[in-house]
């Protein structure tokens, strides 16, 4: 950049004396950004979680926020809601994704490339966009979905206004948005399973179901592990969909842990309590992800 005469000398010296430094130089931007915008905020949040603003002063209260959380019925409500969505939506989505991947991989399906794109494309729609879209489609009085239901003789459904249906709405929205993404991951893994395995099994007289159970599923295990863990982490952090679709309602029926954190932080400005919720959420995610990893790894061995 400066004088070109200087360059060879500096370069030689740099290459000669510090090849050990090279990887750190490549990592430097990431390390600086992590330190400033990840590590420091996480540590700062840990400190905040031990404080409370009393008379305008940030005051150390020890584990007070955590104690309050342990007896907060709204927190348990949020936790229960989050877990209900987790145990229904993740298996539903991954099951559908598995079937889709098998279909996309099968010569039985016509226009495979087109349908693969059709199922994958919802992933590009941002959450505000699809929140707006789904809240108009699912509008109880004027929404298109209820109109179609009525026109085939089904009753109108109070999609976003009823505690149970509001959860169903969120599950539908999540499934619409993310299923294709998981299907594509499974599809890639499917394509890496050697075709000879299937041929050999067929010669041995294995039925289609046996082939699926004994060849396809074991072959997919790495992809299944990955999607189960990532979808679980994502669902435990669920915030966006309830925020735009239901705002946590009706009557906190779709309040998630992520939303409760946000409400405490940015509606009530109780930064200490919000941070405590964040750390409890972190703990829950850590424990569940570890259990899943153990379980899925062990089955693999």
């Amino acid at each position: 950049m400066t004088s070109s005469k200087l360059q060879p000398a500096t370069r030689r010296r740099w290459r000669g004396s510090s090849p050990r430094l090279t990887p750190y130089l490549f990592l430097l931007p990431v390390l600086v950004l992590f330190a400033g915008f990840k590590v420091y905020p996480y540590i700062y949040a840990a400190w905040l979680s031990l404080t409370k603003i009393i008379k305008g002063q940030t005051t150390f209260v020890g584990l007070g926020n955590y104690g309050r959380l342990a007896t907060d019925p709204i927190f348990y409500k949020a936790l229960t809601n989050t877990l209900i969505i987790l145990v229904t939506q993740v298996p539903l989505m991954l099951g559908l994704a598995l079937l889709l991947a098998v279909a996309f991989n099968s010569t039985l399906l016509r226009f495979r490339a087109f349908w693969r794109t059709a199922y994958f494309v919802p992933i590009v729609m941002g959450l505000v966009a699809y929140g707006i879209l789904f809240s108009t489609l699912l509008n109880s009085h004027h929404g298109l979905v209820n109109f179609l239901f009525e026109s085939v003789g089904l009753p109108r459904v109070p999609w976003l206004a009823d505690p149970v249906w509001a959860k169903v709405s969120i599950i539908i929205a999540l499934t619409w948005h993310y299923t294709g993404n998981s299907a594509v991951i499974y599809l890639a893994q499917l394509q890496s399973i050697p075709g000879e395995l299937y041929e050999a099994a067929e010669i041995d007289g294995a039925t289609a179901w046996q082939r699926f159970w004994h060849i396809t599923l074991p072959g997919l295990r790495p992809a299944i592990t990955l999607t189960v863990v990532l979808s679980t982490i994502g669902t435990l952090q669920l915030f966006d969909e309830p925020y735009v679709l239901t705002n946590g309602g009706p009557n906190n029926a779709t309040l998630t842990i992520g939303m409760y954190l946000y409400q405490n932080g940015f509606k009530y400005f109780d930064f200490g309590y919000a941070s405590a919720i964040g750390y409890v959420l972190t703990g829950i995610i850590g424990v569940i992800a570890l259990i899943q990893f153990r379980f899925l790894r062990e089955k693999q061995a």
């Binding site: 990887p23 990431v30 905020p41 087109f114 349908w115 004027h142 992520g258 946000y262 850590g286």
Partner: protein, 279 residues
């Protein structure tokens, strides 16, 4: 490409194709409805029976949106921020991925462990501290507040490390023997061979920034700093929401990324897979 099929195979083929087609139409239906709704006035969007064909109000809706609500600002902000973010983020994550994949150094395991931990930690925990950092730096309503905190994206680093492992060591070694400097090797040998993965990461980062909502909502306090999703949410929050205008805006927010995605789909899918499956 004609395959002779038995009658049973034909029935099975028809059944599978019909089921997938029905599901596929359901997946695409919201996109179609978005196009329809953005061309109608609010009362025609919610009419009974509903309109299922496009109307003639698209231009009016767009004029209301861009002239009346100054939506152009938001589109400009989002375009600039997402582009800069994708370019810088791609570079930063690739450099880190390169270090992890192609070097052995002290602290490597610990540092990569930190990347994975940050990947798994809920980002909501950092919302409050980041807000306070941005207040102290006087960075509210700025592009850097949007770009910097997530520039070093753990997923991106992970993806590039995985993909980078397929670059042959001999290629890098040969360049070293020829006397090329480390940064030159990175810029002239590693980056070009990584083009497909870079394209994938670039689209991923662009999409993530273009669609990001919660964090921008917190650090953008004035309407001329809004990005597209924040501007849309503010339109939706009005008591007398003009849904025609709102859905036209939603369409404007979806079309560019949809185009980008369809255009570069092959790279995008390939890149996601490279990160997902090889391990």
């Amino acid at each position: 490409m004609r395959i002779d099929r038995s009658p049973e195979a034909r029935v099975a083929s028809l059944a599978v194709s019909v089921v997938i087609a029905i599901g596929g139409v359901l997946m695409l239906a919201p996109f179609y409805w978005l196009i329809v709704a953005s061309t109608h006035r609010t009362r025609d969007i919610f009419s009974n029976p509903p309109n299922l064909v496009p109307g003639d109000q698209l231009w009016t809706n767009l004029v209301n949106l861009f002239v009346g609500e100054g939506f152009g600002h938001a589109v400009l902000n989002s375009t600039l921020v997402a582009t800069i973010y994708a370019l810088l983020g791609g570079l930063v994550c690739t450099a880190a991925g390169y270090a992890f994949a192609k070097f052995r150094f002290a602290g490597q395991g610990v540092l990569f462990g930190i990347v994975l931990v940050i990947l798994a930690l809920p980002s909501q925990v950092t919302l409050v501290p980041l807000f306070q950092i941005m207040v102290q730096l006087n960075w509210l309503n700025t592009y850097q507040a949007l770009i910097l905190p997530n520039l070093a994206l753990p997923f991106g680093i992970f993806l590039m490390r995985q993909t980078m492992q397929s670059v042959p060591d001999e290629l890098i070694q040969a360049a070293r023997v020829d006397g090329a400097g480390e940064f030159r090797i990175f810029a002239q040998i590693v980056l070009p061979t990584m083009r497909p993965a870079l394209a994938a990461l670039g689209i991923f980062l662009f999409l993530a920034q273009w669609n990001d909502f919660v964090y921008p909502l917190i650090v953008l306090r004035t309407s001329d700093a809004y990005t597209v999703p924040v501007a849309l949410a503010s339109l939706q929050g009005l008591s007398d929401t003009d849904y025609g205008q709102l859905l036209a805006g939603t369409m404007v927010s979806v079309l560019p990324v949809l185009g980008l995605f369809l255009f570069l789909q092959r790279h995008f899918v390939a890149g996601i897979l490279a990160g997902a499956v090889k391990q």
